[in-house]
């Protein structure tokens, strides 16, 4: 009798554990405007598949036929986003933020240790580095520090002699002359940015074509309000900031983690890639690409992908659930889109009209997804068709991971610049000429 009871307990416990491990995602995710949204589910353990970092060695990312890829800068201090200046020089923002976010549960302590295994161990640069190819041979022979002593810089923007840098806690401005390789002094602070806790610390940025407004993406302070609602004031929003005065207003809200922003050429509409919530299943919730409606509410934390309520949020808000806008285009759940850039005809062939998206790669999905740069083709200014692999080879099937793409930037002269924050490399992909 006793033995029977014991083994029953053991069997139930084992079944519960295994239940957690069978939570498996489909090989193929659904993309586009109407992704399949399964019922939320989570076993007792969140599914974690962590990248196993390894050096690139002689290897390089895989690019489509007719394109070449080169490492134009190595040994950086965690490169995240880049910017191409009018003279062709490239600026790279380096660093890691979020160190002040306290771990509130044993789970956070354990998950932190596990997730750190899949990221780089080098020190944060906290700087902006300038890369120059003076003779136009594709080799960026000059690598020099443009500005130092920044605080986890991420978003970069330029307009008419003004260079804007979004630190994890402030938006600053440098004066810039054509050809300059070093900032003349410390920057002018335009405004503070929300930085208490800074669970999602990256401050993505884009500038309106007339240079009047900066748009800054500010991520949520939690996965799904597990730090309480008071931590979410001024979070999960895109701010519109006056470039002259530094005054701001919320431009759009409910965007959980808007990790990259871009202005669409011709239409001047603001677009964003947004990382959605974790821990409700391998195929929920799709990260997305969307044009950002002024005053729009995109759901976080109350709902996702239109009016689908997230029951983990209490108190709930049915009005907010109802008001949730459906985004334009699903990139796949957990891909961790961290970069977005509109293409240019100089990128050639089938990659001329659309956006490039850098996918850092998943931790909360089996099999893992992301770890690549995709191209989302556009037609008539809107996404049209499934994403196409543009740069792959970052991760092997056995989990060995050489790099993880973050920011992507299109050089109008015909190149895609990719920051790799695992290998601390900047890659440049060009159509063969």
């Amino acid at each position: 009798m006793r033995r029977a009871t014991l083994s029953t307990i053991a069997a139930v416990a084992l079944a519960l554990m295994l239940g957690a491990c069978t939570e498996k995602g489909g090989e193929q995710q659904t993309y586009g405007p109407d992704p399949q949204l399964p019922e939320p589910n989570r076993g007792l353990l969140p599914r974690m598949v962590i990248a196993k970092p390894a050096p690139w060695g002689d290897k390089a990312p895989t690019v489509p036929q007719g394109y070449t890829v080169t490492a134009i800068a190595t040994d950086l201090g965690i490169p995240r986003q880049s910017l191409v200046l009018p003279n062709g020089d490239i600026l790279v923002a380096e660093g890691r933020g979020g160190a002040d976010a306290p771990k509130l549960k044993p789970k956070a302590v354990i998950a932190g240790v596990i997730k750190a295994k899949g990221t780089t161990q080098v020190d944060s640069g906290h700087r902006v580095t300038l890369l120059r190819d003076a003779d136009g041979d594709g080799q960026y022979e000059l690598k020099t520090v443009f500005a130092d002593d920044l605080n986890a810089p991420y978003g970069l923007a330029y307009h008419d002699g003004k260079l804007y840098v979004a630190n994890q806690d402030s938006l600053v401005r440098f004066d810039y002359r054509d050809g300059q390789t070093k900032a003349e002094g410390p920057p002018h602070k335009l405004t503070d940015l929300p930085s208490a806790i800074n669970h999602h610390w990256t401050k993505s940025m884009a500038i309106s074509p007339d240079g009047r407004f900066l748009y800054v993406g500010i991520g949520s302070n939690s996965n799904i309000t597990e730090r309480g609602m008071t931590a979410e004031v001024d979070r999960a929003v895109v701010w519109q900031i006056d470039a002259e005065s530094g005054m701001h207003k919320p431009y759009a809200t409910g965007l959980r983690n808007p990790t990259a922003l871009a202005i669409q050429p011709d239409t001047d509409v603001l677009w964003a890639v947004v990382n959605e919530r974790d821990e409700i299943g391998p195929d929920l919730v799709p990260d997305y690409l969307t044009h950002v409606q002024e005053g729009g509410f995109y759901g976080w934390p109350y709902a996702y992908w239109g009016p689908n309520a997230d029951t983990r949020v209490m108190p709930s808000d049915p009005e907010k659930v109802k008001a949730t806008i459906k985004p334009d285009y699903a990139l796949g759940s957990h891909v961790a889109a961290l970069g977005v850039a509109f293409s240019a005809p100089s990128m050639g062939g089938q990659f001329a009209d659309g956006v490039f998206v850098g996918e850092h790669g998943s931790w909360n999905r089996n099999p893992p997804v992301g770890y690549r740069v995709v191209f989302v083709p556009f037609r008539d200014g809107k996404p049209a068709g499934d994403p196409i692999d543009f740069v792959t080879g970052f991760r092997e099937d056995d989990g060995t991971t050489y790099g993880r793409p973050v920011g992507v930037t299109v050089d109008p002269r015909g190149a895609l610049i990719i920051c790799d924050d695992l290998a601390n490399i900047v890659w440049r992909v060009t159509p063969a000429r």
Binding site: R2, L104, K105, P106, N223, I224, E279, T311, R312
Partner: protein
């Protein structure tokens, strides 16, 4: 024990096998921690104030640490004096159930925000009751037993 009994025919042996003081401290520690987790779960249930869920997580983790040591003592106790009484087996069984369900409860509490509920509260009730029962049975060995 009656005075009317034939004293020659009966030999009374009083056996006192109290659990080791260290074992006792480990066992005793589980009760207030699991009970505390239950109370803070109740507070989270009523107020939706997230800090209570954080408290619960740590209280459960602490109870599991002490509970694991008590469980080791109980296992060794069973093997050390095999065949002695059902009470020791019952104690081990209660302690084991408390710990296993307590561990599952820790995982339930590792979910984000309201996803802890209602499973977390339900498990906290069951685990607190098991902790009370295990402590009761575990400490009852302090009473002298008559063994004939």
């Amino acid at each position: 024990m009656s005075a009317t009994m034939d004293r020659r025919a009966q030999v009374h042996v009083y056996s006192v096998h109290a659990i080791h003081p260290f074992h006792a401290v480990m066992l005793a520690a589980t009760l207030p921690l699991f009970l505390g987790a239950l109370l803070s779960d109740w507070a989270y249930w009523r107020t939706h104030e997230i800090q209570w869920a954080n408290f619960s997580s740590w209280l459960i983790a602490g109870a599991l640490v002490f509970g694991a040591v008590a469980l080791l003592f109980a296992v060794f106790g069973l093997f050390a004096r095999r065949g002695r009484g059902g009470r020791r087996s019952l104690y081990l069984l209660l302690l084991l159930a408390m710990w296993v369900l307590g561990f599952i409860n820790a995982l339930a509490h590792a979910k984000d925000a309201w996803a802890v509920m209602p499973m977390g509260l339900l498990l906290s009730v069951i685990v607190a009751l098991l902790a009370i029962a295990a402590t009761w049975v575990g400490f009852s060995t302090l009473r002298s037993e008559m063994v004939s």
